[in-house]
Amino acid sequence: MSARISATTLRYLIVIGLIALWELLPRTGLIPELFLPSLSSTLVAGWTDAAEYGHALAVTLYEVVVSMAFACGGGILLGAIVGSLPRPRVLIMPMVSSLYAVPLVILYPVFTVWLGIGSESKIAFASIYGFLPTMLATAAGIQTIDPQLLLAARSMGATLSQRLVHVIIPAAIPTVLSGLRVGGALVIVGVVVSEMLISSAGIGYLISRYRTILDSPHVFAGVLLVLFLAIAFNAAIRWIERKAAIWQTGTRAGQANDEIASSAMQPAT
């Protein structure tokens, strides 16, 4: 009876199940095609208008990449300053934290007035949207560096710049990356939502346009593209996390390795 299925296999089974349901429920008529078009008709819709979707994807990708550069670059820079200096922390942090609670999307119409309905207003909105969590995470990451590590570096004669490069930055990477994960996801949300609201191009715009003419397969083709975008982003961040922060293998993995190290002296994976 101990034929246990691993969590990974189970996850794949769930995904496959959901895909099968997506195809079967509309086909059997349990859900009207208007509400949920079957997977195959969604794919066909996307395929027949591949050029249109390709163009929209390019626009959206461009906006996402530029916004991420602004949000992450600015967020890391300001977060590092705010995290390491007590004075700006006292001044800025309360403001940033309360700003975080405001639904920033209310600002978007203002941005379109200032910057037009092209890419600029989306980039401005998505940048600010993703900037806040990145900055907060970076500040937290810098603040929570173990002071013992800095003391040890100092005892070995490390100068301030050496401590920054060899201790503070590597120690902050895991927290910063988790901030990037949230910030980057919000950038994607920001771009797509602003495209859906007021726009003339991009995946969000396509979804919104096809919805007004009740063309569900085309709407869902757009949804599928956004889904892939988000998954690809998440995979990219995971890859960077694995590369950059190999030591932060999660607390449970770390403990398991500790046990292996202390009980049997065999190499941990």
């Binding site: 590590l149 005892s155 070995m156 004669g157 120690a171 030591w247 292996i260």
Partner: protein, 268 residues
């Protein structure tokens, strides 16, 4: 370029490792009042001695150690290592071993040991060779490629000791290095430390809360009182070396430990 293990305790360089503390005081200024952490502390530590600092929590023993490391400056008095003051950390004269958490988790064991050498631009090959020697000395030959999270608590502390020794400083300062370890590992590490000390002839200053550990390891035990921190006793531990587990239950051991305990109970 002498390998660490070949530095014999019989021929320490002249004055290398001597520590002199003269009338040192430390006052912390807080908003409401001045707190005297250390008051008129004087002591002399001869080269190659194993000296343990004990005292109740907050007696300033760690503060004193940090001053010897050049990591903190005293309000008054002087501290000299090898006859010269120590206004900032000097890894050529003093190696420091902290509590467990101070290894860089993103570096492998050997990269951690090489870290102080890398800071001063020592070439890679030389660095690696020295780190290998230091890891061998602490009994971690072959574990250089592990990250700290793949090492047990005792092994991590061995890496810390290797890091403290890699530049071959005459003085090794240890701030409660085994406090986070379990009892058995702690005993083993004590023996290991004594072996390393005998092999290298370093002057060791060791801060601990454990009276048993203090007597077991030390040539001399310095007992400090609670705030303001002062030296209330300076014991010579005459037990023969190598120290053995059986000595722990002996009368000589017991009476030394009792004497320290009476001081601490009085001041706490």
């Amino acid at each position: 370029m002498q390998p660490l293990a070949n530095v014999t305790p019989l021929k320490p360089p002249a004055r290398a490792g001597a520590i002199e503390v003269n009338n040192v005081g430390q006052v912390f200024k807080t908003r409401s009042q001045d707190v005297v952490a250390l008051e008129d502390v004087s002591l002399e530590i001869k080269p190659g001695r194993f000296v343990v600092l004990v005292g109740p929590s907050g007696c300033g023993k760690s503060t004193l150690l940090m001053m010897m490391a050049g990591l903190r400056q005293q309000t008054s008095g002087t501290i000299t290592i090898n006859g010269a003051p120590i206004p900032q950390p000097d890894p050529d004269r003093v190696g420091v071993v902290f509590q467990e958490a101070s290894l860089f988790p993103w570096l492998t064991a050997e990269d951690n040991v090489e870290f102080p050498l890398a800071l001063r631009g020592v070439p890679k090959a030389e660095r690696r060779a020295k780190a290998q020697d230091a890891l061998k000395l602490v009994g971690l030959d072959g574990f250089g490629k592990r990250h700290p999270h793949e090492l047990s608590g005792g092994m991590k502390q061995r890496v810390s000791i290797a890091r403290g020794l890699v530049q071959d400083p005459p003085v090794l300062l240890m701030d409660e290095p085994f406090a986070a370890l379990d009892e058995q590992t702690r005993m083993t590490m004590g023996d290991e430390l004594l072996r390393i000390w005998a092999a290298t002839g370093k002057t060791v200053v060791f801060v601990t809360h454990s009276l048993t550990e203090a007597v077991y390891l030390a040539d001399e035990v310095i007992v400090m009182s609670a705030r303001p921190g002062r030296i209330v006793d300076h014991l010579q531990v005459q037990l023969p070396r190598p120290r053995t587990y059986e000595m722990l239950s002996g009368d000589a051991f017991g009476s030394l430990r009792d004497r320290i305990w009476r001081h601490i109970r009085k001041s706490a």
